[in-house]
């Protein structure tokens, strides 16, 4: 088999390796898509409502190498929702001393 179909054999071995790697990192991989939305929502919220920086500055401040699908700042309720890699996350400003916190449920966009 290996001698007759070397390309297929190598591809199969690579695929098997990838599946093994993904399986051994499944907990990390499952959480990964949430990072960009959560980071952006939380740090934008704090930049804007804790530090009191301008909205435009905060949008640039949270910019990363991965693109953000959407960033919505509900200024009236001080809730910030961000979406990236298909995962939507919301951070809310809770009060003067306690600043912003990621919420367990994201707001609709």
């Amino acid at each position: 088999m290996i001698r007759r179909r070397p390309l297929l054999s190598v591809s199969l071995a690579l695929l098997a390796g990838l599946i093994l790697l993904a399986w051994s990192n499944r907990v990390h991989l499952a959480a990964f898509p949430g990072i960009i939305g959560a980071y952006s929502a939380k740090e934008y919220c704090s930049c804007r409502y804790v530090s009191g920086n301008p909205a435009e500055y905060c949008a640039g401040y949270v910019e990363q190498y991965l693109p953000l699908g959407a960033l919505h700042d509900d200024a009236e309720r001080k809730r910030v929702t961000a979406e990236g890699l298909g995962s939507r996350q919301t951070a809310a400003w809770l009060g003067e001393r306690h600043g912003c916190q990621l919420q367990s449920q994201a707001d609709p966009l």
């Binding site: 990192n25 907990v27 990390h28 991989l29 959480a31 990964f32 949430g34 990072i35 959560a38 980071y39 939380k42 704090s46 930049c47 804790v50 530090s51 009191g52 920086n53 301008p54 500055y57 640039g60 401040y61 003067e96 001393r97 306690h98 600043g99 912003c100 916190q101 990621l102 367990s104």
Partner: protein, 366 residues
């Protein structure tokens, strides 16, 4: 001599050493120095022309120098101002150690208490002591890297995904990589377990206001914000916000060995512990500029046969240091406190270079 005169003389005598000291009570006094070439050179290093497109180079948001209790240098870069409570990132760890120092002075815990005594989920790690956490030597299998290994980074998972609802419980769920107290491994998880331990140490409802009642209010700090996770634990590792002027108050407290005015707010022995190198720390020859871990503070100490991390700065200097260039530096011999807030994205900033220029401008004894 009549008794009243004696009493007055006694008061004068006891006020003697204090009267010579300047404190920011209630407000800082500010005496900006003349712009000498040394002062200009400090500003040139801290505030080069800022490139907001590439975000390259040194990008200071605030620089404040306090000499013997008086502001001598203060500059901000927009949008940060003197009124901005700036994110301290990991400077928060050292601030939280100062909060804990007050609890320590109140007899609420000992360094050799098992963490599990104050934070039950650490029953899974019964040998880990509070002192081990303070030295970042819990021995837990923790991955602190963030920007280069985001997939497996424990700290990213803790702050933003799997751990965010209860950061200390997330930390406690990690296995052991080394025996507690044997090995330094910088961990934001260790710091947040300290955060969770404070709950039982002081109890509710006192806990939810403790950083303010214990530390910020006595120091006259009005700007402090400290974010919590969903379980109510203060994110001791990362999420304190203060103005530069308020952060400098903590620096002055540390410069004066835990004393604020006439009150010994932190036991001098606690500050001494903060400033003692972790006994089992071995410097990494590949990273000669890395400061030496003390008790949640960083030291410019000379350890083993390594050189001082910041060669142009006295060995007695110590600091609270955070991501993207945040720093609170204390140089007790020179009576200097330096606050630097920043948004450094490329690691080109050097503590030694900034402090060398601070020393050239303001280093001589008053």
């Amino acid at each position: 001599m009549p008794r009243r005169t004696l009493l007055a003389a006694g008061l004068l005598l006891s006020a003697g050493p204090l009267a010579a000291e300047t404190w920011p009570i209630p407000e800082w006094s500010s005496q900006p120095a003349a712009v000498t070439p040394a002062v200009q050179s400090l500003d040139d290093y801290a505030f080069p022309v800022r490139d907001d497109i590439s975000r390259a180079g040194v990008r200071s948001d605030a620089l404040l120098v306090v000499k013997d209790g008086v502001i001598v240098h203060e500059r901000y870069a927009a949008p940060t101002t003197a009124q901005t409570p700036h994110l301290a990132w990991s400077v928060s760890k050292s601030l939280f150690a100062s909060v804990l120092g007050v609890a320590y002075g109140e007899g609420r815990f000992k360094l050799d208490d098992a963490v599990a005594k104050h934070y039950p989920p650490f029953a899974a790690h019964p040998e880990v002591k509070i002192g081990h956490l303070l030295n970042w030597a819990s021995g837990l299998d923790w991955q602190e890297d963030y920007e280069y290994a985001p997939l497996k980074s424990s700290v990213v998972a803790m702050l933003y995904t799997r751990g965010r609802a209860d950061m200390a419980a997330f930390t406690a769920s990690h296995g052991a990589a080394a025996a507690p107290g044997t090995h330094f491994s910088y961990s934001s998880g260790d710091s947040n377990v300290l955060g969770a331990s404070l709950k039982a140490m002081v109890g509710e409802p006192a806990h939810s206001h403790y950083p303010w009642t214990a530390l910020f209010e006595p120091l006259g700090i009005g700007s402090a914000v400290w974010e919590r996770d969903a379980s109510g634990t203060f994110v001791a590792s990362s999420y304190a916000y203060l103005t530069a002027r308020d952060l400098a108050r903590v620096g002055l407290l540390m410069q004066r060995d835990g004393r604020w005015g006439e009150r010994q707010l932190l036991p001098a022995s606690w500050v001494a512990f903060n400033r003692t190198p972790f006994a089992n720390y071995r410097p990494d020859p590949q990273q000669p500029d890395d400061a030496v871990p003390g008790g949640q503070w960083w030291l410019n100490a000379q350890v083993a046969d390594a050189r001082r991390p910041w060669p142009d700065v006295p060995a007695s200097a110590f600091a609270a240091l955070g991501h993207w260039g945040q720093g609170l530096y204390v140089l007790p011999e020179q009576k200097l406190v330096v606050v630097r807030y920043a948004d450094d994205r490329d690691g080109s900033y050097r503590h030694n270079e900034l402090l060398k220029r601070v020393l050239a401008a303001y280093g001589e004894q008053p």
